[in-house]
């Protein structure tokens, strides 16, 4: 994938690679708090069934993952571990910040021990609001991310604004 990142591949080939990346997103389940259960419902329950979107929620370690869902409250004690996990993931990597706590601190906006927003420590691609968001909202975030991946040009990957699910 190094050639893709440099933008040196011809357009049609990039498109082909983008389609294959889009439909084989390996997502690492980083369950932190309440949202982890809704994430589990989206990933493991037959009603929502994330695998029909081409998202595979079974990597054994962050080193095999393309996408991480930060689901729940990030506390100051947990923040170094989140950062370390993100650094272990191979490029290109994506982050979904799920729930109010990970977005901005949520109901703990005045707490002494909570990191107000995971975007203080790692870059975020998609924000999913809600406390907790319904599984459908998480699926919507994943679909929007896939649309972006499909038309992605690696050279301006870092210049884009994050997606906000509304």
């Amino acid at each position: 994938m190094g050639l893709v990142e440099n933008g040196k591949l011809p357009g049609p080939l990039t498109k082909l690679l983008n389609i294959s990346r889009k439909y084989s997103l390996w997502v690492y389940q980083w369950g932190l708090a309440c949202c982890a259960i809704e994430m589990g419902a989206a990933f493991a329950s037959p009603r929502y069934d994330v695998m029909r979107l081409g998202v595979i929620p079974f990597p054994a370690s962050p080193r095999q993952a393309d996408l991480v869902v930060i689901s729940g409250t990030v506390t100051d004690k947990m923040a170094p571990a989140v950062r370390r996990l993100y650094e272990q993931m191979p490029e290109p990597k994506y982050v979904i910040s799920m729930g109010s706590c990970a977005n901005c601190g949520g109901p703990y906006w005045d707490s002494y021990s909570v990191t107000k927003g995971v975007d203080q420590i790692i870059p975020v691609d998609v924000y999913v609001p809600g406390c907790p968001p319904r599984p459908e909202a998480l699926l919507e975030g994943i679909v929007l991310l896939q649309e972006r991946i499909a038309s992605e040009d690696m050279t301006d990957r870092w210049n884009r604004d994050p997606i906000v699910v509304t």
């Binding site: 493991a44 037959p46 506390t75 004690k77 571990a81 109901p107 703990y108 707490s111």
Partner: protein, 390 residues
């Protein structure tokens, strides 16, 4: 029970002695294994530092605080109705059950009592949230021992319970429905019949788990006789809920505590198990789901009519005083100690949550077991991280 426990202790000592001999002969070194802070078996972000000698655990030390969100401090700057929004998120699987003891304690200070209909609906939602909580445990414990199917079944049937909670409260996960002096809204039309259908579903789910998991030979081999907690040790560590009932202690606050909720008007049974091992903890919880279904069924049949709110002032000021109320929550005994100075906000709230005590027995119970059994014991103790760290 005591003989089994002493057998475990004796075998542990024998194992230690033999290992010590091997260590001297082979000069093996201990190894430190970090379980967590992110590990599927810890239901969140608990870290357990396990020192191993070969395949055996020499010592285990839980490291908590990765999910500490400062509830007790935050409640000092929230008004009483706002506090329920926060405490919903302590045990996030059975959210409604967290609000109930806080509201009951505030009601006791204000000397108001909810009308009968509100109490019945409260109890129904309390038991529904217990079902939503424990059903996930029944699937999750199996998945941690290597059986993937039960967790899919659990999520499938849990959705229906959540639907019912949502159609009453408007919140799938965090209802924030309990009010001082009653509840927010009445039941929607047709809810009682729909809930009865869901209860049938949960009953058949319990049958499925009985066949799939409890009757499974591999499951029995991995849980029977593993992680035995004798009754006196469990009580000394402050275990509560199904964890202590599976050690043979017949203690359930729904029957013995009897404040505010109407469990004493229902016909149900407290299940205990004499063994105190991982299997017993699974089995007791399975029976509790059935009992909860039974209770909700009786509530739906006998729910009285009438108002759902007592007369409460619009702006709630709680008179000065102290109150402690505890209830039997899905994970065990949960209590709130409220100190009020007659203000809009509580002066101090101490939260006694079940999982903190349930997890503090891990250094004792993990001593001398083998590495695969660590997962089985942790899963069967069933703690939730928000409930430990608060």
């Amino acid at each position: 029970m005591n003989s089994e426990a002493s057998t475990q202790q004796l075998s542990y000592i024998a194992n230690q002695a033999s290992d010590a001999r091997v260590n001297i002969e082979l000069e093996t070194e201990g190894m430190t294994l970090n379980l967590g802070p992110q590990h599927p078996a810890t239901h969140g972000t608990l870290r357990i530092i396990v020192r191993l000698d070969g395949e055996q655990v020499v010592s285990a030390e839980p490291v908590m605080g990765y999910m500490h969100r400062g509830y007790e401090k935050l409640t000092e700057v929230r008004t009483y109705p706002q506090v329920t929004t926060l405490v919903n998120r302590i045990d996030w699987l059975g959210s409604f059950a967290n609000e109930v003891p806080f509201i009951l304690a505030a009601e006791r200070l204000m000397e108001v009592e909810a009308p009968a209909r509100a109490q019945w609906i409260r109890t129904a939602l309390f038991e529904l949230s217990r079902i939503a909580n424990v059903v996930l445990f029944l699937g999750d414990m199996a998945v941690q021992l290597g059986a993937t199917t039960p967790v899919f079944y659990a999520f499938r049937d849990r959705e229906f319970v959540l639907n019912q909670i949502e159609s009453v409260t408007g919140g799938r996960f965090h209802p924030n429905f309990d009010r001082i002096g009653g509840i927010k809204d009445d039941l929607p039309k047709g809810w009682i019949q729909e809930t009865k259908d869901v209860l049938v579903r949960i009953h058949s789910f319990c049958e499925e788990m009985e066949d799939l998991v409890v009757g499974n030979e591999i499951f029995q081999t991995r849980t029977r006789g593993i992680g035995i907690i004798p009754a006196d040790t469990g009580l000394a560590y402050g275990l509560s809920g199904a964890n202590i009932r599976s050690s043979g202690v017949d203690w359930d606050l729904r029957r013995d505590g009897g404040v505010g909720l109407i469990h004493d008007q229902l016909d149900w049974k407290v299940w205990t198990h004499p063994d105190g091992d991982s299997f017993a903890r699974y089995w007791v919880r399975l029976q509790e789901v059935r009992e909860s279904c039974k209770m909700v069924g009786q509530i739906l049949d006998g729910i009285p009519s009438g108002p759902i709110m007592a007369k409460v002032p619009r702006i709630i000021k709680v008179p000065p005083g102290e109150a402690y109320v505890e209830t039997e929550n899905p994970l065990g005994v949960m209590g709130y100690y409220i100190v009020s100075k007659g203000d809009l906000v509580p002066y101090r709230v101490k939260i006694r949550s079940a999982s903190f005590n349930n997890v503090s027995i891990t250094p004792w119970v993990l001593k001398g077991v083998y590495v695969p059994d660590v997962i089985s014991i942790l899963a069967s103790l069933y703690f939730i991280l928000g409930d430990i760290d608060r």
